[in-house]
Amino acid sequence: MIRHLLSGGDLDAATATQILDTATEMATVAGREVKKLPALRGRTVVNLFYEDSTRTRISFEAAAKRLSADVINFSAKGSSVTKGESLKDTALTLQAMGADAVVVRHPASGAPHRLANWVDGSVVNAGDGTHEHPTQALLDAYTMRSRLGRLAGLHVAIVGDVLHSRVARSNVLLLSTLGAKVTLVGPPTLIPVDISPALAPGTDVSYDLDAVLPGVDVVMMLRVQRERMNDSYFPSAREYARRYGLDGPRLRRLPEHAIVMHPGPMNRGMEITPEVADSPRSTIVEQVANGVSVRMAVLYLLLGGNNR
C-alpha cells in the first residue's frame, strides 16, 4: 500500500480499485445505528488547512471520526501562521504532537509533496493550489461507478476552468488509469495548451460543448475560480454561461443515462443553472456523501496497518 496520497497519478489501477471497493464497505457504516468503526483507535489525524474549505475539511473530519481516530483541526486563520510561522515549522510542531496523518490543503502547488519529506506520518493532499485534489477524483470515480456500474470505457467530459482546477488534473490522471476516456472542454484561455500529452495520453480537448454533449456518459462541471483569476480569461460571465454553462436545453441533449457532476461549491447561473443542479441526474449531493466513505477508505488503507 502507498504511504502518502499526493497525486491522482500515485495510484495504479489495482490500488485505486481497492480504495473504491473499501469505500463501498465503508458506505454501509453510514446506514447503521452505530456509525463508528474501531479501526483507527488511538491514531491522530491533523487537518492542516491553509485555504478555506467547507466540504473537504468536514468530510475528512467525519471520515477520521467514524474510524475512531482523534482529529485535530488546524486552520491558518487564528494560528501561528498569521505570526509568520513557515510550513516546515508548523509541520515539525505537528510531528512533535504525534500526528499519524496530516491532511493538508495549501494554496501553493506542491506544498503536500514538501510536507511529505518533513513528517513521519502519512500525508494526504486535500488540494494544493491549482495542482491536484486526489480524494475528490476518487470520490468522483466512486460516484460514477455506483451510478453507471463501471468506469472502464466511460466517456467523461470535464467542462470549464480546467486551467485553475486541481479537481480536473487529478480526475484526468485517475480516470485514465481506470480506463475511462476524458474530454476537456472550455474556452481556449482556460485550457492549458500542453495538457493532454503531459497528463494522460488519449485525453481530448474541445472548445465546443454542444458538440461533445451527445456522446458522453458523464459531464463534470467545474467551478469558475474567480479568486485565482488575475486576468480576464473570458469577456463576461454572461458570455461564459451562454457558451459553457450547463442549462436545461443542454441537459436534454445528453444521452438518457448520462449524469451531471460538480465538485462544489457551485456558482449557480454561471457554469450550471439551478434547473440542472437540482435535477435527478445531478449527483452533486451524492458526491458529498460519497466523499466521507472514500476518505474513510483512504485513511484506513494508509493508517490501518503497519505499513512502515
Binding site: 463501498t24 464497505e25 479501526a39
Partner: protein, 193 residues
C-alpha cells in the same frame, strides 16, 4: 553384541501432514452440527447464521441448507466481516476489508449463531462479538466451529464443535472447503519438532 554406531546426523525431519477429517467426515460433522442446532434452538426459530470470512461463510450456508433439509425451516444466512475489529491490525500490512452482509430481517432480538472453521486463540470470535454489537442487538449469540484446536487466549468457548483436535502450539490446522479451495478436508501440519 555390538550396537551399530549411532548416526552422526539424523535425517532432516519432514514436517508431518495428517488428515484429520476427510470429505465424508466433514459432511457428517456438518450434518451433526445442523442437528444439534435444531435440538438446542427448538427448531431454529428466530435464528440467524452469520459466517465469519473466509471459510465460515460457506460453512454457514451448508448448515442452513442441511437444517432446511432436516426440518424444512429456512434459517437466514449472513456474512460478518471482522477485519476492522481485529486487535492485530497494526501488526500487519493493511488488510483488505470484506463485505458484511446481514440478512434482510437484521439480527435485532434474534439468536445469532456465529460460524467459523477453526477455533484457536478466540481473538477472531472476540472481534466478531465487537462487530456484532455495532450492527445490532441480538437476543443471544452462540458459536459453531468445524474444528476446536485448543490454546485459547481469551475466555471464549464454542456451543457447537465439529471435532476437538488436541494440538501442539507449533502445529497448524488447515481447513479446505469445496467452495473456497476445491475440496473438503481438514489437515494437521506438524511443527517439525
Amino acid at each position: 553384541m555390538a550396537y551399530p554406531p549411532a548416526a552422526r546426523t539424523s535425517p532432516p525431519r519432514q514436517p508431518s501432514v495428517k488428515v484429520i477429517l476427510t470429505a465424508a467426515d466433514v459432511s457428517r460433522v456438518v450434518d451433526r452440527i445442523a442437528h444439534q442446532i435444531l435440538e438446542k434452538t427448538q427448531g431454529a426459530a428466530e435464528t440467524v447464521l452469520l459466517g465469519i470470512p473466509t471459510r465460515g461463510v460457506p460453512l454457514a450456508r451448508r448448515l442452513a441448507a442441511r437444517i432446511s433439509t432436516f426440518e424444512d425451516v429456512t434459517v437466514p444466512v449472513g456474512v460478518l466481516d471482522i477485519t476492522l475489529y481485529r486487535d492485530d491490525l497494526r501488526r500487519h500490512a493493511t488488510r483488505a476489508v470484506g463485505p458484511t452482509d446481514l440478512p434482510p430481517g437484521g439480527i435485532d432480538g434474534r439468536r445469532v449463531i456465529l460460524v467459523d472453521d477453526v477455533l484457536f486463540s478466540g481473538r477472531t470470535v472476540r472481534a466478531a462479538l465487537d462487530a456484532l454489537s455495532d450492527v445490532g442487538r441480538p437476543a443471544s449469540v452462540q458459536l459453531a466451529v468445524l474444528v476446536d484446536r485448543g490454546h485459547r487466549q481469551l475466555p471464549i468457548r464454542a456451543d457447537y464443535v465439529g471435532k476437538n483436535i488436541p494440538t501442539a502450539l507449533a502445529e497448524s490446522v488447515k481447513v479446505t472447503l469445496a467452495e473456497t479451495d476445491g475440496a473438503d478436508e481438514v489437515k494437521l501440519y506438524g511443527g517439525g519438532q
